[in-house]
Amino acid sequence: MTAIELKNTSRWYGNVVAVNDVSTTLGPGITGVLGPNGAGKTTLLHMMAGLLSPSAGRVLVNGMPAAGNPEVYRTLALVPERESVHAFLTGREFVRMSAKLQGLADPNAATARAIELVEMTAAQDRRISTYSKGMRQRIKVAGALVHDPAVILLDEPFNGMDPRQRLHMMDVLRGVAAQGRVIIISSHILEELNDLATNVLVMVSGRLAASGHFREIRKLMTDRPHTFTIKSTDNRMLASALLRDASVFGVELNDGLLTVRTSDRGALTRYLPRTARDANIRLHEIRPTDESLESVFEYLVNR
């Protein structure tokens, strides 16, 4: 079953392209949309939620165009990234408002069920203004789940949550996904999607840079070439010794700094100390140079 279908979808603001020619189909289970900030994840999610119409291409939810079609929201829910909720309402009032706007037959029962699901029953009668970031996220999720939507879009749902809250939210989402629903989660942290998302779409600068099973994406990201800079007592000697290792495919010497490029980070970290010791070289500093998320994504794009 295909719940969401993107066909050559693009979206631009003036001459800035936020989403560039993305085509994919999403079905039941949890799909992660991964990418650095500003990659177009929110724009993509908002197009799926019908809040934005694509500048080119199509976005179909259950076969219908999402934009300008409020009936879509009977089966679709969005948990927005922005923290702001109607802070003057209590948690229960906020969720019940969602239930009533959905036109549910028994809004009170649905409200109680949704609040129970995110474990907010104890705090439900406090004003949202007194909630922590994590509690606000949970009440937002309760408001979105109140009408049992088949498609749930969550924009950076783990922001501001402590590890325990994060684990709990993962449990909630896994439980909801097990009911055969379509869940799409955006995140800029790969590890957040660990053990959660089966499929991952990687967005970089508005383009779909990679997509596949979580484990494949993870392998792509960790098995890429790594670059280290090393300071030691004898850089030249160390360089020649390191070149004997099959995983090292480049060394460079300048200004008392040795730059090593390896295709296998693990192998180098085992090989380097042994080599240095055997050659009687003292290591002063080892520094990975490209561990920033942006460079990881950069690699995926240029691959």
């Binding site: 934005l52 409020p70 909720v85 003057f88 036109g103």
Partner: protein, 246 residues
């Protein structure tokens, strides 16, 4: 209209401190009236003249536009800036129902605030030549004013970035400065409509004065204000797009 959105908008207005400021303002006329009573040399004789100045100039002329501004701009107000409007937009509710619900709350709260502002000073200065039909005539004016101002300021709240500033500019420049001196501009002033409507609704035996805006002018311009403002608010909401700014 949608009951839940009406409820939410009420809660929004009550959560806003401006409401209490507006309530305080609505008590200003009765305070002025009490001061008048205690300082006037001959309240019996001067009451009518005083009230016929207070009701159109202070209540309809100042309080009505200011309260409509407060309620009209809070109806959408913060929701667009802080993004909470999103929670209404991702529900199976047609957008015109959102606009109408917000608008109705703005009109009703403005109108309700006008009632004590019109009747309390009338009670305070009660005089035999001030029958109840006089404040009732001003209530009609306040009702029309609330309906038109409400639409205009609700639209500003949805459509412009600083609705309070633009709204104040309208009140001060168009209504206060220009409409008072230039006859043609009166057709652009909701305040003039409200006053003229009061005079039209009053029995001619009350001798409140002659309306300065013609009935046909009021019909055309009033409809234009109402329909134009609500259509613009709806257009703005229909085109409302939330996204990360690139």
């Amino acid at each position: 209209m949608h009951r839940t959105i009406v409820w939410l908008t009420w809660r929004q207005i009550f959560a806003n401190r401006r409401l209490y400021l507006a309530m305080l303002f609505s008590l200003a006329p009765v305070v002025i009236a009490l001061l008048f009573r205690s300082f006037s040399a001959d309240p019996e004789k001067e009451s009518r003249g005083f009230y016929l100045l207070l009701a159109p100039d202070i209540v309809l002329g100042v309080l009505l536009p200011l309260s409509a501004l407060v309620f009209g701009t809070t109806a959408f107000g913060g929701e667009i800036d802080d993004g909470t409007l999103l929670y209404l937009l991702v529900k199976p509710v047609k957008r015109w129902r959102i606009v109408i619900s917000k608008y109705v709350v703005a009109v009703l709260s403005t109108f309700l605030l006008m009632l004590p502002a019109i009747f309390l000073p009338w009670l305070a200065v009660s005089a035999p030549d001030l029958p109840i039909s006089i404040p009732v005539a001003y209530v009609w004016g306040a009702a029309l004013g609330a309906i038109l101002y409400g639409a205009f300021f609700t639209m500003l709240g949805a459509a412009v970035k600083h609705p309070l500033v633009i709204g104040l500019m309208y009140i001060v420049i168009i209504e206060e400065a220009l409409a008072r001196s230039i006859a043609g501009v009166k057709a652009l002033s909701i305040r003039e409509f409200a006053t003229a409507f009061s005079l039209r609704m009053a029995d001619s035996s009350l001798n409140l004065g002659t309306p300065l805006v013609s009935a046909s002018n009021m019909k055309v311009m009033g409809t234009l204000f109402l329909v134009g403002s609500l259509a613009l608010a709806l257009y703005r909401l229909a085109r409302y797009e939330m996204a990360e700014k690139p």
